[in-house]
Structures are given as structure tokens and as C-alpha cells.
Amino acid sequence: MNFPANLKYTKSHEWLKKTAEGTVQIGLTDHAQNELGDLVFVNLPSVGDALTVGESFADVESVKAVSDVFSPVTAVVAAVNELLLDDPAMINTDCYDAWLIEAEGIELEDELLNAEEYEAFIQEEA
């Protein structure tokens, strides 16, 4: 499994990428997509929706399950990745390219892990 060193991670298996514009992109980790299996649909929030640390902002569907995606930040949704609405499989094929949302106006940030810590956390969980 692949955990790029330039990203931050959460214990609920989301990744975070800070952009040059001061926003963050949020997506699902390789571990998460592997556990979820073939994704068939993604329910995304709307631009302008409020995000709260630890609360669900989206859900992803496989054939027989639906899983919440939790926000690592308290912020506002600046953009959603609409490509995923037509092609949710992008999360399975390239999860670090397939960001779900971009957030701006970050007020609060969850405790985040670096790649090494996240990998150790997964091993511990298994």
C-alpha cells in the first residue's frame, strides 16, 4: 500500500493535502479504498457547506455497503470533485488524485498523522 510522504492522514482514513492557495484537499487513503472495495457512488456536499471536525461530510457507496467520510477540519467547502459523480472508480484506481472536496477558511484541524505514523496505526489496527 502506498502512503505519500507529502500528505497528512487521519485515524478515520482520510488524507489531507495543503495547496499553495491555503486550501486543503481531502480524500480517502489507499487503505480505505482497499477496505471499501469497488466504489459505485459518492455523495458529496455542496460548495459553501460547513465542515466540522470529526463529522461526516460525504459518504461512499459500494454495492453492499455505505460508509461515512469524516472531516479532519472545521472549515467551509470551497470545491467538490464532480468527476467522481460520474466515475467513482477513480477512488479505487488513484485515490490520491481523486480528492473529494477542497476546504477553505480552516478554523480548526484534527490531530493529524504523517505517513509513517499512519502506516504504523493501520498495522496496529489490524
Binding site: D38, V40, F41, E61
Partner: protein, 480 residues
């Protein structure tokens, strides 16, 4: 198989109606549809063949053993269907004057009396059309009760065990309740201490299936319902599993205030490939003022449909529910009667325990106790050892002509397979099914690949469900 649209040929059809005997009029163009619907143009003989082919590619209880857990796929007696088709019932308009439908109202009244006695309830409505509809209705009645007592705003939580059917939390949520999940204890029952901790002044009620979805009777049932009553909440009984205990023990005596029955499961009306069913809702007197309108009532010497229920939750569908399903259930209860009802439950429980013991060696029983009408196996060890999953085994059973058990439910058991044989199966059928299951487990160890690709003898194999959900094709494309 061809779709009926692919059998369609322009100009074909059936001649059903005589010529119009009054002047034919046509509404103005602004009111009419612009294009004709693409309906099949097909002769009656072709219709007959088309549906015969579809029937051959379907599977009912008439085709063989159908131990689908939680679904009570018992034999459906034919007298019930024949009585439901009598013109004096099937041809009644729902808005006929009461004096012309006394027999129909008697059917509803008699069914209510008998089912009240079987369940220990005081009143019953047949308006809900299915189990989940009954849940929705029963929870709405609980909500109306709290509101009437001035506690509508404070009692906001519905307690639901983690092993519950998905309909329970969904029905509670439709009524605006916050669902509080109660964990299961190691013995498979409700964790009583967790329930005690969760129950309080904000509790509206508890939704419980007993026997539960693991097929186990809640031994602490008195304590469980008492905890909820002490907190000021009401107890809802999900009747999905009543087949195990009808005539043996009554929900009304266990402390339940409102119940639904799946007449299409327990009371033997056929399932129709997914309905119509009936989710009759019974309740204790305290909830009677909130029943859906109308109710059957006696007025002078005649029966009427009374709308005089000021605190009623209102209506949950049109008219009086799936009347012909109620009628089928009545036929069934009349046939079985005082001895037959408990005998059916005993038979169901005996068959389930017998089959469970027969399968104990090749599989693991999730909760190793005497079960009720169904039991859950966990195939997690087999999966670890051979890579063969519960799904693979289920598909393998199809090659033996056996409908698979319910898979991956309840969610709290890994690699779950839930069997409900019902009372209408013989010892020979159970033994054959057990043999088939053993053979499949043996095959899993010898040649797991054969099971990964099972079934091998069915008209289609392992449909691509991911593709179906990613690119939904939900109707025929006439342009292709």
C-alpha cells in the same frame, strides 16, 4: 431471454374491447400526449410463452427448499388464494355502502379477533401494506402517544439493538427519532446493562424482534421491557420472527405495547416475488386511540368503518390495506386453529434445531444455544482456511437446487449464513440440504476455485453488480 419489447412486432396485438357504443370524442390537443408509449405489440400466445419462460427462470417455494433466514418461506396453502379470488370479495368496490360489504367487514373483524388472541393485543389495523410499513405505523402511534401526554418534545430517542433489521432504524428515523443502538451481549441477547444505561427520560421506546435476528429467544425479555416501561417508553415488537413462538408465548404477555405482523410470512400468504404483503399492527388499549383511520366498528346490528378516532395518526395508505391478504391470513388461522398454531411454531423450531445440529460439524454455529425458528452460521474459519466465503457457499447451494440462506446478516456475525427451514419441510429435505452443505464444505477444502466460480448450473452466473451500480441501466433502450 428476450425482453417482451424484443418480441414486439408492429401490428400484432390482442382484441379486447368491442367498438365504442357512444360517439367517440377526443380531448383538445393541449390535453393529449404528444407521443404514444412504447408498449409491446404482441399476440396473446406470445404473451403466454414469454411469461412461461420468465416463470421457468424464477424460483418459488413450489420449486424446492427455500431456507431464507428471516423470510419464513413456508408452504402457501392454495385454499387461501382461491378464497381471495371469490368474486364476492375480489369484485367489491372499497366505497360500497356498508350494508353491501358486511361479509368483508366480518373478515376483517374475525381476523382481528383471532390475531389479537394469538399475539395478546387488544386491537389491530390491517392498513399497513408490509412489515416496514407496519413499523412506520406503530412507531408513529408511539410518537402520537407521547405527544398526547405532553412528552412529544422530550422523548426523542428510539432504542434499537445492533442486530435489528435495517427497517427498524429506518422506520424510527422516518418518524423523526434519533436512533440509539444497543449492543448485543456475548450470549447473543440484548446487553441489558447497556440498555439500562441508555434508557431514560428521553426514551420514546424500544424496537425489538423476539426471537431476535440471531434466532435466539431473549431470555431477559421481562427485564428488558420493564426497563423501557420504567423509563416511560413503550415497547415495539417486530413480528418478523413470530413464526417461532405463535401459540407458545404472546408478545402482549412479554411487555410489548404495539406489534406488527408480517401476514405474508407467519400467516402463510405468498410473497409474490416481493409483495404484496400485509403489516398488520396490533396494540394494547393505551395505543388504540392512535390507530390509523378507519377502524371496523359495530353500530347497531351492523359493522361499519368508523372514522371517529380524533387522535388517530391519520392514514398510512388508501382505503383499508391489502384486504385480500388479510383474508388469506384468516383462512390460514381458521385452518390451523387452537392446536395447529402452536404445532406450526414447534415444528419450525424443531426443524431449525435439527438442521443446525446437522450443520454444526462442517460450520460454526454463531451462538451455540437452542435456537428458535432460525439460526446463524459463521463461515469465518472456513474463509480463513480455504478462502471460500459465505457468498461462495451460498452460490454453491444453487447447484444443488437449494435456495441459499440469508447472507451477511445480521451484521454482527462475520461471514454469516442465516437458515430458516420453516415447519413445512420434511426431515428428508433437511437431511438432503445438510448433505449438500457438507459436500460443499468438503469441496471448499479440495478445490476452492470451483466454489469461487459457482454456481455452474444456473441460467446466469455471478452478475456484475458493481457494473450495474456504476452505470445504472434501469429501463429498456428502444433506440438500440
Amino acid at each position: 431471454m428476450k425482453l417482451i419489447f424484443e418480441r414486439s412486432r408492429p401490428g400484432h396485438g390482442c382484441d379486447m374491447l368491442p367498438a365504442n357504443d357512444v360517439p367517440t370524442l377526443q380531448p383538445a390537443a393541449e390535453y393529449t400526449r404528444q407521443t404514444a408509449p412504447n408498449l409491446p405489440e404482441i399476440t396473446e400466445g406470445e404473451i403466454s410463452r414469454h411469461y412461461s419462460e420468465l416463470e421457468r427462470n424464477s424460483r418459488g417455494v413450489n420449486n424446492g427448499f427455500y431456507p431464507l433466514g428471516s423470510c419464513t418461506m413456508k408452504y402457501n396453502p392454495k385454499i387461501n388464494d382461491e378464497m381471495a379470488a371469490l368474486p364476492g370479495f375480489a369484485e367489491l368496490h372499497p366505497l360500497q355502502p356498508p350494508h353491501t360489504v358486511q361479509g368483508a367487514l366480518q373478515v376483517m373483524q374475525m381476523a382481528e379477533e383471532l390475531l389479537d388472541e394469538i399475539t395478546g393485543m387488544d386491537c389491530m389495523t390491517f392498513q399497513p401494506a408490509a412489515g416496514a410499513h407496519g413499523e412506520y405505523t406503530g412507531i408513529a402511534m408511539i410518537k402520537a402517544y407521547h405527544k398526547k401526554r405532553g412528552e412529544g418534545k422530550t422523548r426523542t430517542k428510539m432504542l434499537v439493538p445492533d442486530a435489528a433489521h435495517g427497517t427498524n432504524p429506518a422506520s424510527a428515523a422516518m418518524n423523526g427519532y434519533t436512533v440509539v443502538t444497543i449492543p448485543s451481549a456475548p450470549d447473543g441477547g440484548v446487553d441489558v446493562e447497556a440498555l439500562r444505561a441508555a434508557a431514560g427520560a428521553d426514551t420514546a421506546g424500544l424496537m425489538l424482534t423476539n426471537p431476535n435476528t440471531l434466532g435466539l429467544f431473549e431470555k431477559n425479555i421481562c427485564e428488558i421491557t420493564q426497563i423501557v416501561h420504567d423509563a416511560g417508553g413503550l415497547n415495539y415488537y417486530d413480528g418478523a420472527n413470530l413464526n417461532a413462538i405463535m401459540g407458545i408465548v404472546r408478545p402482549g404477555d412479554m411487555g410489548f405495547d404495539v406489534i406488527h405482523l408480517n401476514l405474508h410470512k407467519t400467516f402463510s400468504t405468498p410473497h409474490g416475488g416481493g409483495g404484496p404483503g400485509s403489516g398488520a399492527v396490533g396494540c394494547k388499549t393505551i395505543l388504540a386511540p392512535f390507530l390509523p383511520r378507519p377502524v371496523v366498528a359495530q353500530e347497531g346490528g351492523t359493522l361499519v368503518l368508523s372514522n371517529d378516532i380524533p387522535d388517530s395518526i391519520g392514514k398510512v395508505r388508501s382505503f383499508y390495506g391489502n384486504f385480500l391478504i388479510t383474508l388469506r391470513a384468516l383462512c390460514y388461522v381458521l385452518t390451523l386453529g387452537q392446536q395447529g398454531i402452536p404445532a406450526a411454531a414447534t415444528g419450525a423450531v424443531l426443524n431449525a434445531n435439527y438442521l443446525m445440529r446437522k450443520l454444526a460439524t462442517p460450520a460454526e454455529i454463531a451462538y451455540n444455544r437452542t435456537c428458535m425458528h432460525e439460526f446463524v452460521l459463521s463461515m469465518k474459519t472456513l474463509k480463513k482456511e480455504t478462502g471460500v466465503s459465505a457468498l461462495d457457499l451460498a452460490k454453491g447451494l444453487l447447484d444443488y437446487g437449494i435456495h441459499p440462506p440469508t447472507m451477511y446478516f445480521p451484521l454482527i456475525v462475520e461471514e454469516a449464513l442465516m437458515f430458516e427451514p420453516t415447519e413445512t419441510e420434511s426431515i428428508e429435505t433437511l437431511a438432503e440440504a445438510a448433505e449438500a452443505f457438507r459436500a460443499l464444505v468438503a469441496l471448499a477444502h479440495q478445490n476452492p476455485e470451483a466454489l469461487h466460480s459457482a454456481p455452474h448450473s444456473t441460467p446466469v452466473r455471478r452478475p456484475d453488480e458493481v457494473g450495474a451500480a456504476r452505470n445504472p441501466v434501469l429501463k429498456y433502450d428502444f433506440a438500440r
